[in-house]
Symmetry: C2
Subunit: 85 residues, 2 copies
Amino acid sequence: MSIAEVTGFVAATLTTLSFYPQAYKIIKTRDTESISLVMYSIINVGLILWFAYGLMVGDKPIIFANAFTLIASLTILFLKIKKKK
Amino acid sequence: MSIAEVTGFVAATLTTLSFYPQAYKIIKTRDTESISLVMYSIINVGLILWFAYGLMVGDKPIIFANAFTLIASLTILFLKIKKKK
């Protein structure tokens, strides 16, 4: 693997994993006050489109990375909406 | 542009823009309580690596999308750290 490939792989791994600590913090504290509903509405649509893009071009890393991210980001959106009711 | 290209372009635009409503909400409310410091530490390192990857492979969309996202995500991280002091 070239330096560029290693950089891209680590970048993708970090950005994919990063939503999990936020989902964990909300599950633990039940506090979603400062979380932006607009951010998580937009980013989830974007991640679903990335997932669809991955399926269209048959790119497995894009499919799996975005599916994995969606689990956490949809959880955050769901908990934010649930708290707003 | 093919349907796949349009899907990828819209996905990239949405995921790039999505951090701005969160940064705006924090600037307006000064509340960062439910924001995860771990998330924004990890995601900023990931976005910096994506930016570096874009420079290495000479991919302008990756360079500009991640630079634009970093402005908002670094703002969120800075405000979270500032509030913790």
